[in-house]
């Protein structure tokens, strides 16, 4: 018997963030025809972004596609994903993926099936030249993902919903914001941003999560087909990586200069980002923090 699973994404439809999910769904529907099929239901218009984790936990949704930041209230440890310094493939090798899977099963009643978006970093963008390590006197638009980090840069923090981000930048309420390499143009922000601080910090993530009860009810053939599809989609990162590179080139054309930090400044910038992120995890989930750091961010651990 062929099982059918209902899939919902936490990212708004028709945004590039859903490209890996579409690839995954198509791949499963092509290769797993005799064991399991995926039925794409919709996005935030069907299940609110911040409720998708809960909907997966209780089985209202069988398969969810979400960034960890949207379900941090259920799995605070998942914030470690954004702090990764090694690749998904390495995490599958060294047990990091399995640890995340265990934590997701325990806290969220969900299988941590696949992790995408690893080639899309976050950046600090500025509307005027400034010292990224000392932004006192400036205001930055923040989101929960990088609040703690931006706080260490000395800036005023202004939280706005994405819908008000453009006005905040245009009118000069903020002189900078954090965003990934993708999406600056969707919001028209290139008109007002002048600098992108290099290096990027943190990685975005789009995770495929399967309700555990539903997973346990699947045939072995279905489970292994889904696992194969997961490894396959994780290997398709190049498409997102290319998009990311393309967007950075477009940014340069639109007049957004790279503000390159080098040497000790670069290390200091990354160290503050990493320390702020790990400090949050240690506070919310002390049990798993050290182990996660060792497996996901061996560079920061040493």
């Amino acid at each position: 018997e062929v099982a059918t699973l209902r899939v919902v994404t936490a990212f708004p439809q028709n945004t590039p963030q859903n490209i890996p999910l579409t690839g995954f769904v198509d791949h499963v529907n092509e290769t797993c025809t005799d064991s399991v099929q995926l039925d794409f239901v919709g996005g935030p218009e069907a299940v609110p972004t911040f409720e998708l984790g809960e909907a997966v936990r209780r089985g209202v949704v069988d398969v969810g596609y979400s960034s960890q930041s949207f379900y941090a209230s259920i799995v605070p440890e998942a914030a470690a994903i954004k702090l990764s310094t090694n690749t998904v493939a390495e995490q599958r090798e060294n047990g990091g993926h399995e640890l995340l899977n265990q934590i997701h099963q325990e806290r969220m009643n969900a299988v941590y099936l696949a992790r995408t978006h690893e080639d899309v970093p976050f950046y600090l963008y500025l509307t005027e030249e400034a010292d990224p390590l000392d932004l006192s006197g400036k205001s930055l638009r923040i989101a929960p993902v990088y609040r703690a980090f931006f706080d260490t840069l000395g800036a005023q923090l202004v939280q706005t919903p994405p819908s008000e981000m453009y006005t905040a930048v245009e009118r000069g309420v903020v002189q900078g914001l954090g965003w990934t390499s993708l999406g600056i143009f969707d919001f028209g922000l290139q008109e007002h941003l002048k600098y992108r601080v290099e290096p990027g910090f943190y990685l975005s993530d789009g995770n495929v999560l399967v309700n555990l009860d539903k997973w346990n009810g699947l045939s072995e053939a279905a489970q292994s087909c889904l696992n194969e599809a997961a490894v396959w989609i994780e290997g398709q990162g190049q498409e997102m990586a290319d998009l990311s590179v393309e967007d950075l080139a477009r940014q340069a054309e639109a007049g957004i200069e790279a503000l390159e930090l080098t040497g000790e400044e670069r290390d200091e910038f990354l160290r503050r980002a990493s320390d702020a992120g790990w400090a949050e995890i240690e506070e919310l989930a002390p049990d798993n923090a050290a182990k996660l750091k060792e497996l996901l961010a061996p560079e920061s651990a040493s």
């Binding site: 218009e45 299940v47 919903p161 008000e164 006005t167 009118r171 309420v173």
Partner: protein, 439 residues
């Protein structure tokens, strides 16, 4: 379940519960209970519906709704509104149909100071109507303008409904707000024109001249004292935004602060006034917000069940032109507007019309403006017209609901004419946002 069965069931249940008179907010909650059980996987879906409801209001973009209502209520209960209206009354003199014109002018001024159409009509009705009836105006000409001009408050910024529409439909709120200004002014001018014609024809009007005339300066002084300073409130809202001090939501809060400061300066605020203002604000805000709780969740169930995308694929198959889509939107909204409130109108229709408009490339600001105008008209279409109810609440007992409705009809006609104008010739309204927001 096939999508059309899901759709018929969900919409049919909404209609049934509305018709038997269950309050609108609970209509949606009731349909959600059934919908969650059927489509979200039984009892575990019911818990999810509760959570989605709690989540639905945790949206910073909705914060201006109570704030704009609070501005209107503060002006009403502090008496600042009454004083300003009487100042306008003294200024306009020796015009046929003087008092109805005063209400149109004062109503349009208040539209720029308050984001709540209900507060707007309540202000005019409670401060001008008794006097107008006493001085011999037929209810028709006295009541019609007050009810009709109330709706202008949602077209001219600040506007609670425009904020809600913008945030639900992801249309630029700033562009929406600016786009409403020109149609609103056209309406106000046409209202005044209609009143003049009726007055010159001698119908319905007992000619009166402002009782204590005096020279121009004497008449202008109350206007300078009681009206002009209020525009500092408008300046605070728009200025804080333009100067880069505040985000759009923050500028709404600054508007409230400016209104409080104005109230203190006029020595019109007391603990009693503030208490009364807060409780009235609480009433209207919670009325709107609690409908949002149920109706956002309702639209999620529509999407999850496949009903929304199913219907959409059928409509899309007709390959409508942008104009035909706009006409479809307009007809559906005007019909719905006779029976349900503004928030529900948006919530029920946006899941269908927004993807449809996107698929055929309708200018979203045009769409948004047609929405706002239709929502405004729905405020005064019977049998369910919120402003008609508001007027019934503040008018003297002997004025019947039928009288109020009849008095409003000519103005309803004018509003429809403006709506048709905007549909045929959208540039009338759209040049302004394009000009202002281009740079």
């Amino acid at each position: 379940m096939e999508w059309y069965w899901a759709l018929s069931l969900l919409v049919g249940l909404v209609v049934f519960l509305m018709v038997i008179g269950l309050p609108v907010a609970f209509v949606f909650l009731g349909v959600n209970v059934v919908g969650a059980y059927l489509f979200l996987g039984g009892t575990m879906g019911l818990g999810q519906v509760v959570r989605n409801g709690v989540q639905s209001l945790q949206n910073y973009s909705l914060a201006p709704i109570p704030m704009f209502i609070l501005m209107g209520e503060l002006m009403l209960h502090s008496g600042m509104a009454g004083a300003a209206i009487h100042a306008v009354e003294r200024l306009i003199r020796k015009v046929p149909g003087r008092m109805p014109i005063v209400s149109v002018v004062a109503g349009t001024l208040f539209a720029a100071l308050s984001g709540s159409s209900m507060a707007n009509t309540a202000m005019l009705g409670s401060s001008l109507l008794p006097q107008m009836l006493k001085s011999g105006y037929a209810p028709r000409l006295a009541i019609g303008p007050m009810v009709a001009v109330g709706g202008i408050a949602i077209l001219i910024p600040p506007s609670a409904l425009a904020v809600l529409l913008g945030s639900l439909a992801k249309i630029s709120i700033a562009a929406l707000l600016v786009a409403g200004i020109v149609p609103a002014l056209i309406m106000a001018v046409l209202f005044v024109g209609y009143i003049l014609i009726r007055a010159l024809a001698g119908d319905d009007v007992k000619e009166d001249v402002a009782p204590d005339g005096g020279g121009f300066f004497q008449r202008a002084w109350p206007f300078l004292r009681d009206v002009l300073p209020l525009f500092l409130i408008f300046v605070a809202v728009v200025g804080s935004l333009l100067a880069g001090i505040a985000t759009p939501t923050e500028s709404a809060a600054i508007g409230v602060a400016a209104t409080v400061i104005a109230g203190l300066a006029y020595r019109r605020l007391s603990i009693g006034v503030i208490g009364k203002t807060m409780m009235e604000t609480a009433k209207i805000s919670a009325m709107i917000l609690f409908i949002i709780v149920g109706s956002i969740t309702f639209s999620q169930i529509l999407a999850f069940s496949g009903a929304a995308s199913g219907l959409l694929s059928v409509i899309t198959a007709f390959e409508l032109t942008p104009l035909e889509v706009i006409l479809l939107v307009l007809v559906v909204l005007l019909l719905l507007g006779c029976f349900i409130d503004q928030v529900s109108m948006m919530m029920i229709t946006l899941p269908f019309f927004l993807p449809l408009a996107n698929s055929v490339g309708v200018d979203l600001i045009w769409l948004g403006l047609v929405y706002l105008l239709s929502l405004e008209i729905a405020l005064i279409t019977p049998p369910f017209g919120l402003l008609l109810f508001v007027m019934k609440g503040v008018a003297p007992k002997e004025i019947s609901f039928g009288t109020i409705t009849m008095a409003t009809l000519p103005f309803l006609g004018i509003q429809m004419a403006v709506l048709v104008l905007i549909v045929i010739w959208p540039e009338i309204a759209l040049w302004l946002p394009k000009l202002l927001l281009a740079n």
